[in-house]
């Protein structure tokens, strides 16, 4: 870590690039994530166009080779999960919200925090570099199963695959540092009087997610080292001919890969809880139960990973165990959804854009959850594994998580971040444009999946049984293009509101949690006077009070 010059009349450089202020670092994570999202979206556009109009010139790209197609599919997944969902949901919101919401002036380790972002930035640069090296970017799917990923003569991307693994490993290190910072901060630095049960759910969720990440990622980091050695030095950790075992990597990957789903799901759930409470003017129903289900989900998520490998060559007897645990996890998750629905009972819902997105999260995520049962049940997974049914299913979980919940968070906390409101009309246009087209993309893909159309196929022209579904592919692609087009008004709205939007004031939503009890945008050090906490974060519409919200830090 270089030296931190830390006075208050800093140069732009030290203020925005080498700042140790948790809010600036949060912003850095958010903008980096948004930039990576553009790349991921562009990849999606290119390969969807190829699927809809195989072998034709793609506007804005040109002719797509099957190698480039694999690279784009692979990196679309990698980017959207590791460089969009995680930095925005956990790192950006975690950094921005945790100190504000637990009422302290910064993270406990500001410079560790900055280091974590710098490593993350390097990882992003390494990943982008991997697209331009000799042989092109890695194209072995985001699961990077060896031997394909381990040997250049198989994947034909000698540099791309190595850079890809290194980028992912660096990203893990960045989030380990960040996670340790989050956990320690919340454990130690809560405002006086804030008991465990007074912590806003979104903070809880980010902490639980960080712990899950920390506990699950270890084997994969070790695996990444082993894989890089296989690629560069020629060790045989995963090479069957010399005694290695590809299945070992699959286990290392999915032991992390499945908890990872909940690592991003839980913060999204937390965001939705907070947004619903504020815009529904209602206390979150069963706070303790939400926590219980979140922790239960977290624990169970360590017992289910092999359901990604049912037909991948694991012992069929193990599949039975993992079927049971996988279906069991539907209980805490389902319960959490029920609690959220119950929260809306007797609410007084303001349909702001943020609230619309929060509600849309529930509506869409239920689809993702239910379709998951088809894949968790080993018997039916035999047919669905690696088909578009899987693709549609996890987009119905990840899109609500990484996109819809993130938008809910942005529309909700934007006033606090920049001190100005976003334009509601444009927000609503953006909302409907996004939600309708999203369903337009992925509902049809369930049909393709049922028909047994496989993922990661460059072109379906040769498959006689599948050519008749071309219409569906075109329909999905048209929707995708529309969805991407509808992000333009959002970006315009976002950046114009940042400078021209109407002033927000400290607490535009009349919210009770701590982050709204300080100026917006919060100055360095956040609170003029460090707050003390007297009650939970969701005291809305308390009977017998003139105002319908009761800030955590108001004595009476």
């Amino acid at each position: 870590m270089s030296s931190a010059h830390h006075d208050h009349h800093e140069s732009f450089f030290s203020k925005y690039l080498f700042s140790t202020d948790h809010k600036i670092i949060g912003m850095q994570y958010m903008f980096t994530g948004m930039f990576m999202a553009l790349i991921g979206g562009y990849f999606a556009y290119v390969f969807r166009m190829q699927l809809a109009f195989p072998g034709q010139d793609i506007p804005g790209y040109g002719l797509l080779t099957s190698a480039a197609y694999n690279t784009m599919v692979t990196n679309h997944g990698t980017i959207m999960i590791f460089w969009v969902a995680m930095p925005v949901l956990i790192a950006a919101l975690g950094n921005f919200l945790i100190p504000l919401m637990i009422g302290c002036d910064d993270m406990v380790f500001p410079r560790l925090n900055r280091l974590s972002y710098q490593i993350f930035l390097i990882s992003a640069i390494v990943l982008i570099a991997s697209f331009f090296v000799k042989g092109g970017g890695f194209g072995g799917a985001w699961t990077a199963y060896p031997p394909l990923s381990a040997k250049a003569e198989y994947n034909l991307t000698p540099w791309g695959s190595t850079l890809w693994v290194i980028a992912v490993a660096l990203e893990f290190v960045a989030f380990l540092l960040g996670g340790i910072n989050f956990i320690t901060t919340v454990m130690n630095s809560r405002a006086p009087g804030m008991k465990w049960m007074d912590i806003p759910i979104v903070v809880w969720m980010i902490v639980i997610a960080s712990i899950l990440f920390m506990l699950s990622v270890g084997p994969l980091i070790a695996g990444a080292v082993m894989l890089v050695f296989d690629q560069l030095i020629g060790t045989a950790f995963f090479e069957p001919a010399r005694g290695g075992d590809p299945i070992l990597w699959q286990h290392m990957f999915w032991f992390f890969g499945h908890p990872e789903v909940y690592v991003v799901l839980l913060p999204a759930m937390g965001i939705v809880a907070d947004v619903m409470a504020v815009h529904g003017r209602k206390k979150v129903f069963g706070y303790k139960m939400v926590l219980g289900t979140a922790i239960g989900t977290g624990i169970l998520s360590f017992f289910v990973w092999a359901h990604h490998q049912f037909v991948a060559g694991i012992d069929p007897r193990m599949a039975n165990l993992f079927t049971i645990t996988t279906l069991l996890i539907s209980i805490p998750v389902g319960e959490m959804c029920f609690v959220y629905i119950a929260t809306l009972y007797g609410a007084s819902i303001r349909y702001t854009t943020a609230m619309l997105f929060a509600v849309a999260f529930l509506v869409e995520f239920l689809i993702g959850g239910v379709t998951g049962i088809f894949l968790g049940a080993s018997g039916s997974d035999v047919h669905f594994h690696d088909t578009y049914f899987v693709v549609a299913h996890f987009h119905y979980t990840f899109f609500p998580i990484a996109i819809i919940a993130t938008f809910a968070a942005i529309y909700h906390w934007f006033p606090k971040m920049f001190g100005r409101m976003m334009n509601e009309t444009w927000g609503k246009i953006h909302f409907w444009g996004t939600i309708i087209t999203f369903n337009g993309i992925f509902l049809p893909l369930f049909i393709n999946g049922l028909a047994g159309q496989h993922r990661r196929i460059f072109s379906y022209e040769h498959f006689n049984d599948l050519t008749k579904f071309q219409g569906i592919r075109v329909f999905a692609t048209v929707n995708l293009v529309t969805l991407l087009a509808f992000q333009v008004p959002f970006l315009i709205n976002f950046f114009t509101s940042m400078f021209k939007g109407q002033k927000a004031g400290d607490n535009p939503w009349k919210a009770a949690s701590l982050e709204w009890q300080c100026p917006s945008p919060p100055p360095h050090g956040n609170f003029a006077k460090m707050p003390e906490v007297y009650r939970g974060p969701y005291e809305y519409s308390v009977p017998g009070r003139s105002t319908d919200f009761w800030p955590q830090n108001e004595r009476t």
Partner: protein, 192 residues
Amino acid sequence: MGAQIPIATTRSATGVPTGRLAVWWVIASEIVIFGGILVAYILGRLMNDYWGADAANTNVLAGSVNTFVLLTSSLFVVLAHQAAENKETDKAFRYIWLTILGGLIFLVIKSFEWSYEIHHGMTITSSRFWSFYYTAAGIHGLHVIAGMIIMGIISFDVKKGKFLHRVENIGIYWHFVDIVWIFLFPLLYIAK
């Protein structure tokens, strides 16, 4: 180190000082990282008895001496911690550098060991045992180096009587590195 300390850092709702709590979390995450590679190694070892033939070529003496060195350095760092608690800064400084010296000896012995083995054709690619041998010990070695560097940096603050609590934090980390070796030693050297 111009950054003034945030109020956040000085709070301690759990009763565990922030720095120490963080170190414990670092260790928790390190356990799974080393756990990942050791689990892979142990399962391979149990499945393929013939790895024992390779393991027989490891230098038990070097391994034993290194274990002794690390255990001793652990003693020094805990004594440094104690000295720091009693505000005997010079003593703490001396013990820290003794610990660093221990780490240095460990690395020197390791490098001799490795160069011998490599010259006799036992390289990281010779067999999966050797792959694990070099990878696991290598990752551990990196942790030793990291610990030495951090200790070197903090030792001068300690001499000035600043940030004395850091002696304990780095100490806990160093003990963990020691423990990892305590397991690597029988796994890689003794078990034949």
